[in-house]
Symmetry: C2
Subunit: 217 residues, 2 copies
């Protein structure tokens, strides 16, 4: 639907996804219109930023009553989502894989986690969090048969690198890597490294830096 061929900046995409969830919450409560400064306040940013993001996707129907909530949701949907549901596989169905599957599939999105993979014989062949779990050795075959385009890697970090080749061979287009192993993929595959340890260490560092600054004052 969207007429854009140049991808929109990453940060704008993140914020659109966040605005969308807030707008859906508004819509559920019967709120029909919302001003840019209200959206901005909820997300801790400026109204200028909100307006700039929406201008960037070509949305400009700001009225005296603010943005029409339903119209804006549909517009963001047309930017973020394919017309067809995008299918996602999870590699590694431990606590993290299960948490991600449950959390993600409980949302009403045009992206679904449909298939799991693991090495644990107790999990293979079972239905876990409502999706079938296959042996990781069958990854390429199952991905191709099921038209899966994105994989979430929630394996132990030490195992992750051995599955980069099957991921490439299977024709996967996007990777969300939760391990702390940096994974390299050829150009054309979108990779997002999302290591929890790094983020927690970052928070800890800024807490420490703030404390040291206080002590020095």
């Amino acid at each position: 639907m969207a007429a854009f061929t140049t991808p929109i900046p990453e940060k704008t995409i993140e914020r659109l996804s966040e605005y969308r969830r807030t707008l859906i919450a508004c819509h559920r409560r019967g709120i029909t219109h919302v001003f840019s400064h209200i959206l901005a306040g909820i997300h801790g940013i400026t109204a200028v930023q909100v307006r700039r993001d929406l201008m960037l996707i070509g949305f400009s129907s700001d009225t005296k009553k603010g943005y029409d909530v339903k119209v804006l949701i549909d517009f963001i949907d047309s930017i973020l989502y394919s017309e067809n549901t995008m299918k996602v596989a999870v590699m590694g169905m431990g606590h993290l894989g299960q948490a991600i599957t449950k959390y993600f599939n409980s949302k009403q999105l045009n992206i679904r986690i449909t298939t799991a993979f693991d090495v644990d014989e107790a999990k293979v062949g079972q239905t876990i969090m409502d999706i079938p779990c296959y042996h990781i050795n069958d990854f390429e075959e199952v991905v191709e048969e099921n038209d899966i385009s994105i994989v979430i890697i929630s394996l132990p970090s030490s195992l992750a690198s051995q599955y980069t080749v099957p991921i490439i061979n299977a024709g996967i287009k996007g990777v969300l890597n939760f391990t702390s192993a940096p994974l390299n993929f050829p150009q054309g595959i979108v990779v997002e490294n999302y290591d929890i340890t790094t983020i927690l260490e970052k928070v800890a560092y800024f807490v420490k830096a703030a404390e040291e600054n206080n002590n020095n004052q």
Copy 2:
């Protein structure tokens, strides 16, 4: 130990945390020295970036053999970590909270998840993933008694906002928010919003954009 009063940029902190893990893996394999371009290659960035990051923290002992792995690990530790272990609480001990606790505490870090909170009576009073689980209503008291400075929020999104006041009152300094509810805290509290849905939607968008570009060519 570190003599910095101005915080180092966020992205540099993230990369330092990532370099550190790579260096530890090198150290375990008996590798004593590593060149900046090797570190750069593993992390998919340029050698200039690596050298700039290390210069920023005042590390400059690059020799003909490359960086001394052990010395660099200790140096990064002195920047990232307090001398005392930093204590972290998890709010919400469902699949995600358990996964984070298990994953994080299995690493050798100077930051520990020591305490869990939940509303589920079946969990309260139990030891889960080797840490005690308290009722969330006792959050302020338990946090103060146990000198906890960071909280990870892995509650259902709909519950998260009602705990911002207890978090502030308890004197928490850093928040890692895994819910999709944007949470506002006063200045002085470090907040990192880390919503899985947003990241997966971002990957999906760039996969879609790449496909559309291919179709247009």
